[in-house]
Amino acid sequence: MNDPTRRRFLFSTGVTSVVLSACGFLGATARYLSPNVLYEPPHRFPIGSPEEFPPGTATFLPEHRLFLFNNPAGFYAISSVCTHLGCNVRHIVGEGFACPCHGSRFDENGQVVHGPAPEPLAWFGLSLSPRRELVVNTRQPVQPEYRFRV
């Protein structure tokens, strides 16, 4: 009855199981905090027919936070979200992009010229929907050579 080894074994087994189940509960709660479904704007969305963006123009689409360019080689889309802390950059024709928050500057291709931004502005892939609308996919990163021809 008074076997200290057995008592210690039972005691440590009990404590261990309590600690493990507490960890399990905490882990489950931590996982619970991370949502599985997001009711956020879609990552693929139509922005209008190609004719709405005449050649040689740069159009800012504020609701999608991107710039759509149409130059002789084709269409391309550059994100307006500064890679530093998420402010909207402004486009300055002939110079590139400027961020109002911390003064990061980017060239016409969205490459960092100076300032605290750690990465170039994101480029998004384009496609044409069956209804002949330009579609942007923000989960499809593309290189600055990318041009989309209609």
Partner: protein, 405 residues
């Protein structure tokens, strides 16, 4: 009947005044007697007490503000307009909440400086300093989460910048940001999370930490006495309790039959009622008057409704994070994550890095001049960076002189 509520009644003798302190749930946060040195306003400046009062004001005004507030992007801003223009005394309560929150950041910071410059974090108060650092962080967290709730441009872009800074934390940055916002963008999910953090989680944590902080203050004596005063414990006669600072000394001594209470009673103790209690009421009145004056004279800012498509130029974080934003404008990782983390770590470790119990209980003790100089340099750097962010940064975060139009 009154005696069933207040067992002692209005105390007229010293014995009753001591009994009133001990028998009341609220008042027995105090000892029956306090040392005269802990009443000196020039020593504590009443900063800890003031921050506790501000926390109380924030709870009261915050709870009534909740009655007119819905944490949803479609309603939040309209609710703020209602509070500003429709609800009776709405602007006063909102202004009080806002200014008390700002004041609390300032007062808690000053309280920390006071405790440092008087060496009051030394034995036996080391861990209470750590609790205090936790309370400073909670104060900032409460202020920051409250900043989003009005859902105006100021709120939206301050939180955009702030939550993106969190994203730079090495390793788990993206996950922390995702958890904080409940998604990838600042939308209804983020507003709800900030609301729950601001109204439930952080105030509960703060209340618990305040309780522990105050309990330890009570157990260790209201404020650190000047170093020479208490005799070292090992020199005390066995079986005798150290007489001076500890507030439970009176009762603990009474339990020890060997020593009558009166003999080890230090001479410079006075009754808490009225000496401490009246001073505390006075500080409360001063805090309330100052807050009312601020609330009546200055309106809390409310800009246009949050517009994720239009970044104001410049987009500034809340003022107490402008030092951080200034650092971040050089490098997000070093300025936004490494420097603040190291600073907090250094603050937590202060009592353990500087354990020698010298120069305790006096302002700017010469024995501690090196520690004081290091702390003063860091604190001034933080203040200077904040001022630069507030007044010397204009559009595109370029340097401007505040007096040029």
């Amino acid at each position: 009947m009154g005696r069933t509520i207040f067992r002692v009644g209005w105390p007229r003798t010293d014995k009753d005044r001591a009994a009133a302190m001990i028998s009341s749930l609220v008042l027995h946060i105090h000892p029956a007697k306090v040392q005269r040195h802990s009443l000196r306003a020039s020593y504590t400046l009443g900063l800890g007490l003031t921050s506790a009062y501000l926390f109380g004001v924030l709870i009261v005004t915050g709870v009534v503000l909740m009655l007119y507030y819905t944490p949803h992007p479609l309603d939040a801003y309209r609710n703020m307009k209602d509070l500003q223009f429709v609800v009776t005394f709405g602007p006063v309560l909102r202004n009080m909440h806002r200014w008390a929150a700002h004041a609390m950041v300032v007062v808690v910071f000053l309280h920390m400086c006071r405790v440092f410059f008087t060496g009051a974090y030394k034995e036996p108060r080391q861990f209470n300093w750590v609790l205090g650092v936790g309370l400073l962080l909670l104060t900032l967290g409460l202020s920051f989460t409250g900043y989003l709730l009005p859902w105006d441009q100021l709120a939206f872009w301050a939180i955009t910048v702030g939550s993106n800074i969190a994203g730079y934390a090495p390793g788990l940055g993206a996950e922390i940001k995702y958890l904080l916002l409940g998604g990838n963008v600042i939308e209804s999910g983020a507003l709800l999370r900030f609301y729950v953090l601001h109204c439930v989680i952080l105030p509960l944590l703060a209340a618990m930490l305040i309780a522990m902080h105050v309990y330890r203050v009570r157990k260790d004596g209201l404020s650190a006495p000047p170093a020479a005063e208490p005799p070292p414990i090992e020199e005390m006669a066995p079986g005798r309790f150290p007489p001076s600072t500890r507030s439970y000394g009176l009762m603990a001594l009474a339990d020890r039959p060997a020593q009558p209470v009166v003999e080890s009673e230090p001479d410079d103790e006075v009754l808490t009622w009225p000496h401490l209690l009246y001073r505390e009421v006075l500080v409360l009145l001063a805090v309330l008057i100052a807050l009312h004056a601020a609330a009546l004279l200055f309106n809390a800012p409310l800009e246009e409704i949050a517009d994720p498509t239009r970044t104001p130029n410049p987009a500034k974080a809340p003022w107490y994070f402008l030092g951080l934003q200034e650092l971040v404008s050089y490098s997000a990782l070093i300025g936004g994550v490494l420097v603040p983390t190291l600073l907090v770590l250094a603050l937590v470790l202060v009592p353990y890095l500087d354990p020698v119990p010298r120069g305790v209980g006096v302002w700017f003790a010469p024995e501690r001049s090196r520690a004081n100089r290091i702390f003063a340099a860091l604190a001034s750097a933080a203040v200077a960076l904040t001022l630069v962010g507030m007044f010397f940064r204009g559009p595109n975060w370029a340097w401007v002189w505040p007096w040029t139009p």
